[in-house]
């Protein structure tokens, strides 16, 4: 379409659709989107962008991907591993912008030492920038301003990449130029071993899971972020030309907010391959543990309210919400809200529960209601015990939750989730799980073909329940202490003997 034709179309559009129509409002929203952060862009980033462009024009080759690595220098081993993953890339058409964010002097020294360790070829690719201000969004915006790549991705210093991370984006860009490029991600539980000075290091404690292995779906994405940040490559023009930047006022969920502003504008091209692993830390510091629940709730509400405050353009195919892809274990069904209700059903075949025997599924209802329906594979139907982990997160309350078993002969049985063995605290008709990995376990005697757990979930924990649960846990820990247990056991046995003799 030439310029004149484009202008005529715009004029006609403005004539036809007033500001009261949805089309008119949408047009105004898009204009606002490109203008809202202009002042901040001109003040902080324009000069840097121009300098980068000037350098770019002198450079011999265009760069495909700029990878921004955010680091505070606190995770030296993580940063080393992150750089090794980049060294191993099959497509080396990338540059690295290492954004040291609020790094203390000794941490900065550590970062510089790690850079010195790299091969000459790798060192050439890396630019270290130091940012002393702001939220987690600030280093990303600076990274964008320094970026020379046609696309930009953001990778934290504790993520892991497969060797085709860059290659997959590069190939996808041929087909989805201008769109956001989105690849699949595994999640995996990790912990940091710090038992002695010489033996620190990271240790995987669970198998990789296909938690983020589904195509991007704007409607599902309205409720929560299903795309870890490194799963997406953003076209650089969004920052340079449209001046749409990460929101620096957000302490958390800055990635979700940015995706929700950009994906409806540009569209998303899906890469149906797993190119990275998102580490769920069991004992190390991360943004989930640094910021309190209040912050998460507040930002969540703020982002939802923003999304709700303007019309939304849906891409074609948006109705394919329940479509299950062949060869993909994880159902692409409607699941909503925070926390992520993505359940796992484990099977005990007589040797205990393990990551070798499980199936997973997502929530099919809108929160606070949830329903996790598991189809039990034939080989697991006679398992000695079943275990449902309704989600990975702690700090949740399950109300009126029922487990419904469907047997092979078609009969059904239902019972309250609170009747299972569990690692939560039961009070006021609700099950409260304080810690990570809530679990519900029960024994099995018949052939079960389908298991469903249904109920209501909440993260608003009444103060008294929180206190009681904490006290209960303390008491339990005390009672678990070996001396106490032995004393109690011996007193109990004596009482029982006396009672049985008398009777």
């Amino acid at each position: 379409m030439d310029k004149l034709e484009n202008t005529q179309l715009q004029e006609r559009f403005a004539r036809l659709f007033s500001g009261y129509t949805i089309a008119g409002q949408y047009a105004r929203y898009v204009e606002m989107l490109t203008k809202a952060q202009e002042a901040q862009f001109f003040e902080k980033y324009e000069k840097l962008v121009n300098e980068t462009k000037a350098q770019d024009s002198k450079a011999e080759n265009e760069i495909f991907l700029s990878i921004i690595i955010r680091t505070q220098g606190k995770r030296a081993d993580g940063l080393r591993e992150a750089l090794l993953c980049l060294e191993a890339q099959t497509d080396q058409d990338f540059e690295v912008i290492l954004a040291a964010h609020k790094a203390k002097p000794h941490n900065l020294k550590q970062i510089k030492a790690i850079l010195k360790e790299q091969t000459a070829a790798m060192r050439k690719k890396i630019r270290l920038i130091q940012i002393e201000e702001g939220t987690r969004a600030v280093p990303i915006n600076y990274g964008f301003a320094y970026a020379r790549g046609r696309y930009v991705s953001v990778y934290d210093d504790d993520d892991i990449l497969f060797a085709d991370y860059v290659e997959a984006f590069h190939q996808a860009a041929e087909f989805g130029e201008g769109k956001l490029l989105h690849a699949y991600v595994f999640s995996q539980k990790w912990k940091e071993n710090v038992k002695s000075k010489d033996q620190t290091g990271y240790c995987a404690v669970g198998a990789p899971k296909p938690q983020y292995c589904q195509n991007f779906h704007l409607i599902r994405q309205l409720e929560k972020n299903l795309c870890p940040l490194m799963s997406i490559a953003f076209p650089r023009y969004l920052f340079d030309e449209c001046r749409i930047m990460f929101d620096e006022s957000l302490d958390v969920m800055e990635d979700w907010e940015y995706i929700m502003r950009t994906a409806p504008l540009c569209g998303v091209y899906d890469i149906e391959e797993v190119t990275s692993i998102y580490r769920h830390w069991m004992n190390a510091e991360n943004s989930a543990s640094i910021h309190g629940q209040d912050t998460w709730d507040k930002v969540y509400a703020q982002i939802r309210s923003r999304i709700n405050g303007h019309p939304l353009l849906l891409p074609d195919g948006f109705l394919n919400i329940n479509k299950k892809k062949a060869g993909q274990e994880q159902a692409c069904c409607f699941s909503a809200g925070y926390p992520r209700m993505e359940g796992i059903l484990f099977f005990d075949l007589g040797e205990g529960f393990s990551d070798a025997h499980y199936v997973s599924t997502g929530n099919t209802l809108l929160l606070p209601e949830f329903e996790l329906k598991f189809s039990v594979p034939r080989e697991y139907r006679h398992a000695a015990r079943f275990r449902i982990d309704p989600c990975e997160y702690g700090g949740i309350l399950l109300r009126d939750s029922k487990i419904i078993l469907k047997y092979e002969d078609g009969t059904r049985k239902a019972f309250l989730a609170s009747k299972c063995e569990h690692n939560g605290y039961y009070a006021d008709g609700a099950l409260y799980f304080m810690h990570y990995d809530p679990m519900l376990v029960w024994k099995n005697t018949y052939a079960v073909s389908e298991i469903t757990i249904r109920g209501y979930v909440s993260m608003e924990i009444p103060e008294h329940l929180f206190k009681n649960a904490a006290e209960h846990e303390k008491r339990q820990q005390f009672a678990r202490g070996s001396v106490w247990r032995r004393i109690c056991g011996s007193i109990w046995r004596r009482i029982r003997r006396t009672v049985s003799k008398r009777s």
Partner: protein, 302 residues
């Protein structure tokens, strides 16, 4: 400055020259970084080529020599036969005068601090082997978190004292072709009274992938050789019940590859070519489920 001698060795099979050069570049960098941190490593890097046709040209060999530090010599040996990993590594280690051997797969990329961390582990008393941590998919076998002690070490990347390698007569190439040779070797090292340590800070990149459902995607050759090795390992380490169970399982409900492995085992048995059983009290060789020791987690197969 601590000084050590090392031979880095890989058995290659139809690898790309460009991938091998990348691995050499990373190894050379790891030698440089170890020196900066106080361990001066000299010695050699050896590739044993088990491919039908030589992978490297003379120019490429010269290029690789140029990539290594001056204290390191590169040699390239064409076996002229598919030796498998066990025999190939034995041949390469045969004439080494280095105090340590670093056995690694040719597709391994060392992190800069990998060698430094592995040598640090070797300082612990009675340690004969130190294994690196693989990324992006970490091996799932268990290890003692406090000490790093583990039941066996994968030879994807492992540092071994040459004296110990010789004292246990290297890998059992008569029994194992390419799988479980490392488990068997590790168990014999432990049987001789040594420790094996896992060093999670010595990271190496081993390009592996899983399916979208997070499951292994083994090739036919991998299925066949791992089934054959599983039978031989259980027999050699005196777990005859397990051997019988595996044979029954492979023959009754195994795929084509498992059936072939079972038939091959029967043939060996008939020809009296099975290994001599050791560790009859089963103090060292531990089979748990389908694994060779405890695991932290399991990745399912298709």
């Amino acid at each position: 400055m601590e000084e050590v001698t090392l031979q880095i060795q890989s058995v290659i099979y139809q690898n790309k020259a460009s991938d091998l050069k990348k691995a050499v570049m990373q190894a050379a960098n790891a030698v440089r970084v170890a020196k900066e941190y106080g361990i001066c490593i000299s010695g050699s890097m050896v590739y044993g080529d088990a491919s039908a046709q030589a992978v490297l040209t003379e120019e490429e060999v010269a290029d690789i020599q140029g990539m290594l530090p001056k204290e390191f010599r590169f040699s390239y040996r064409v076996f002229g036969m598919n030796t498998g990993t066990a025999k190939g590594h034995n041949l390469l280690a045969q004439h080494s005068s280095a105090a340590y051997l670093l056995i690694m797969n040719p597709d391994i990329l060392m992190s800069p601090s990998c060698l430094y961390e592995l040598f640090r582990s070797m300082k612990q008393k009675d340690t004969a082997m130190a294994e690196a941590r693989q990324t992006p998919l970490e091996h799932a076998k268990a290890y003692e978190e406090k000490t790093g002690e583990t039941q066996w070490a994968s030879t994807a990347c492992v540092l071994i004292r040459t004296s110990v390698f010789r004292s246990v007569h290297g890998f059992d190439a008569d029994t194992f072709f390419m799988y479980c040779d490392d488990v068997d070797f590790s168990w014999r090292v432990r049987l001789a009274g040594y420790k094996i340590l896992y060093q999670p800070r010595a990271v190496v990149y081993h390009a592996k992938h899983l399916s979208i459902g997070a499951k292994w995607l083994p090739t036919c050759a991998e299925r066949y050789y791992s089934a054959e090795a599983a039978l031989l390992l259980s027999y050699k380490w005196s777990d005859f019940n397990r051997t019988r169970k595996l044979l029954k399982q492979y023959e009754a409900c195994g795929g084509e590859d498992e059936k072939k492995a079972a038939a091959q085992f029967r043939k060996r048995q008939k020809e009296k070519r099975l290994p001599h059983p050791i560790d009859k009290n089963r103090k060292i060789g531990k089979f748990i489920g389908d694994e060779y020791g405890e695991m932290r987690f399991q990745i399912s197969g298709h």
